[in-house]
């Protein structure tokens, strides 16, 4: 799920960036440092939308660096257990399939794929129903439910299922 929240961060700036462009330098450094990172609490920071407030800078003892407390608004993405997501399938193998929803890596094990879908190996490994009507292969879009999440410094891992109602393939890349 996406959230638009306010976060705070202490940014350290080297004196060479001082001058007329101090604020721009601070903001671009903030963007470089924060966009694309993950945290357990907030999830994945997708983009910074605005700066709310930049506090007074404090010069650190011993070095010339100055620390500014910056409050900024950003869009974050964090999956939750029980959430329904759409994801694109990236890899299919006999253990299940891996899908991606933005920066989130989701694994759906074959235990959580409906039993009428069987794994077919070959050039394009896929899971297909016995009558061939539904197929999950690389680049298919699926709707899945998250049953577990874990966040580390740069990535979010999730376990998903498609064994419930209304879950499964949304869009077959071979048709349409």
């Amino acid at each position: 799920m996406f959230f638009h929240i306010v976060l705070e961060r202490n940014m350290q700036l080297h004196p060479r960036h001082f001058g007329r462009n101090l604020r721009e330098n601070l903001v671009s450094k903030l963007m470089k440092d924060v966009e694309g990172t993950c945290s357990g609490r907030h999830g994945f920071v997708v983009a910074i939308t605005g700066i709310e407030n930049i506090g007074k800078g404090l010069i650190r003892d011993g070095t010339g660096f100055v620390t500014f407390p910056v409050k900024y608004q950003c869009v974050v993405f964090r999956p939750f257990k029980g959430e329904i997501l759409e994801a694109a399938v990236t890899m299919v193998n006999k253990m299940g399939f891996f899908a991606e929803a933005g920066p989130v890596q989701i694994f759906v094990s074959n235990h959580l794929i409906p039993d009428d879908m069987e794994f077919q190996s070959g050039d394009m490994p896929n899971y297909t129903t016995s009558d061939g009507s539904v197929k999950i292969q690389k680049d298919s879009e699926v709707r899945l439910k998250i049953i577990g999440t874990r966040v580390d410094a740069t990535e979010i891992f999730c376990i998903g299922t498609i064994k419930d109602d209304f879950l499964g393939v949304i869009n077959d890349p071979t048709t349409a």
Binding site: H111, D115, D165
Partner: protein
């Protein structure tokens, strides 16, 4: 609850529950309850093991739609006991609670159970990092996957083939180790844009040059029709993936099955524990026997491919390498071509000639049998091959000859067919010449081992050893 009584299919709740319990306990669909026949379409929802789906398709849709309606209306009443909820919901609740109670945690992804999502910190099972980062499977799950995959593969008439990279399919060298005589190679390297025709590649970004063994493209193409192939190398993962790109640019032979030393469970040893295939159906092609201590029976030893000078030096050979001699292994007659013939033979025997049922066949037995045909009928005596006071029958060459089907002895007699010697002046050597027995150099046995065929004895003459 009004909708339960409204629904014509669902009879009294106790009958539903009995039917549900029966199905869950897998007693069987016929005859267990008089209501079963009427409630046939209920079973379509109940148990996935039930194969009546074809009959029940129409009823299935109707019923599942009804169940879905029931479920959406029932969201608040999840805590209600079975008596007042619809049958579909009971089934789901019991299934869910069964799952949570007895989740076997078949594996983990990012340290979460792939079945229930629970956080798992135990270290049992095997990591399959080469398939996807963070994937780990428990031992039971690996066994289950191996047997289902085996059935699948046998249906397609394929076995598993694990291929080593260095000195087996290719030879790599670092650019800084190229000798002056090899500098000409830099101008002869093939384009990296279309690797399917090339064999010599310069990989500047890795500071190395790689030469693919002659015949490798044809070998891979033909072997892929009989085997599901894996790469297993003692190089690191980036190296392994780069080599896989050279050998298999379309990702049709190996797809994700590239195992590097980062994926092995033991240091300096290769093992079949990270290969998702039954050991009885795996054939290994490698130039190093010691890397496969636990799986020697599955191994076909390959003659090492030394193209670059560095490779020769590393193995202690003082001769010039193929690149220095501006020469190369024969394409149609080299190691890969011969081993392909052997693989075809093994595949043919496994699928077409073995009598026992498919699941109990063992490719290791086939390997043993084929090997024993190579030197069948030969009786060998060794002379000046083993150090004195060495236990003769534990020597490498003795054992090699026995595996190839020959019988070995320490004493000469009339049944001996070959005398293997390094010196034509020894007593046994002279006896061989006198008795018109075949006198050969030990390399005759090694050649038979690598080429899987008895070689002409006249190609391995023995010379008089020079005295000090």
């Amino acid at each position: 609850m009004s909708f339960v009584t409204d629904s014509p299919i669902h009879s009294s709740s106790s009958d539903d529950f009995a039917a549900l319990l029966d199905a869950e306990l897998e007693v069987g669909s016929s005859g267990s309850s008089p209501d079963e026949q009427d409630d046939e379409d209920e079973e379509a929802d109940v148990d996935a093991n039930n194969n009546d789906d074809d009959d029940d398709d129409n009823d299935d849709d109707l019923d599942s739609r009804r169940n879905k309606r029931c479920r959406t209306e029932k969201l608040e009443d999840l805590e209600e006991p079975e008596g007042s909820t619809s049958q579909g919901l009971i089934e789901e609740k019991i299934e869910v609670s069964l799952k949570e109670d007895i989740c076997t945690h078949p594996g983990s992804f990012g340290q979460m159970c792939i079945l229930c999502g629970q956080r798992l910190d135990d270290e049992s099972g095997v990591t399959f990092g080469y398939i996807h980062k963070g994937l780990r499977l428990g031992n039971d799950e690996i066994i289950r996957l191996r047997s289902t995959d085996m059935k699948n593969l046998l249906r397609h008439k394929k076995l598993y083939l694990v291929l080593d990279l260095d000195h087996t399919l290719l030879n790599s060298t670092q650019l800084m180790h190229l000798t002056p005589e090899e500098e000409y190679l830099k101008g002869q390297s093939d384009s990296l844009h279309d690797v399917s025709k090339g064999s010599l590649f310069m990989l500047d970004f890795m500071h190395m040059m790689t030469k693919l063994r002659p015949f490798v493209h044809a070998f891979l193409k033909e072997a892929s029709e009989m085997f599901e192939m894996y790469i297993y190398t003692m190089g690191d993962r980036p190296y392994a993936l780069e080599m896989a790109k050279l050998l298999d640019p379309k990702r049709e032979y190996f797809s994700g099955r590239v195992i590097s030393r980062d994926d092995g469970t033991q240091k300096h040893q290769k093992g079949l524990d990270v290969v998702l295939g039954q050991e009885s159906a795996v054939v290994i092609l490698d130039d190093t026997e010691n890397a496969w201590m636990k799986h020697k029976d599955n191994l076909i030893l390959m003659e090492r491919y030394h193209f670059f000078a560095l490779s020769c030096h590393q193995f202690g050979y003082n001769c010039k390498s193929l690149s220095q001699l501006k020469n190369d292994e024969s394409e149609s007659d080299g190691a890969l071509a011969s081993v392909l013939k052997v693989l075809r033979q093994i595949h043919h025997i496994f699928f077409d000639e073995l009598d026992s049922n498919l699941a109990s066949r063992d490719v290791r037995q086939v390997l043993k049998t084929v090997r024993k045909e190579v030197l069948k009928g030969c009786k060998i005596v060794f002379s000046r091959v083993f150090p004195t006071k060495f236990q003769a029958d534990s020597h490498l060459l003795w054992k090699m000859a026995e595996h190839l089907g020959a019988s070995c002895s320490t004493e000469t007699d009339s049944s001996v067919t070959h005398v293997v010697s390094t010196d034509s002046g020894t007593e046994k050597s002279r006896w061989a010449v006198k008795e018109k027995k075949l006198l050969v150099h030990p390399r005759w046995i090694e050649a038979a081992n690598f080429l899987w065929q008895k070689q002409p004895e006249e190609n391995f003459p023995v010379s008089q050893a020079k005295n000090q």
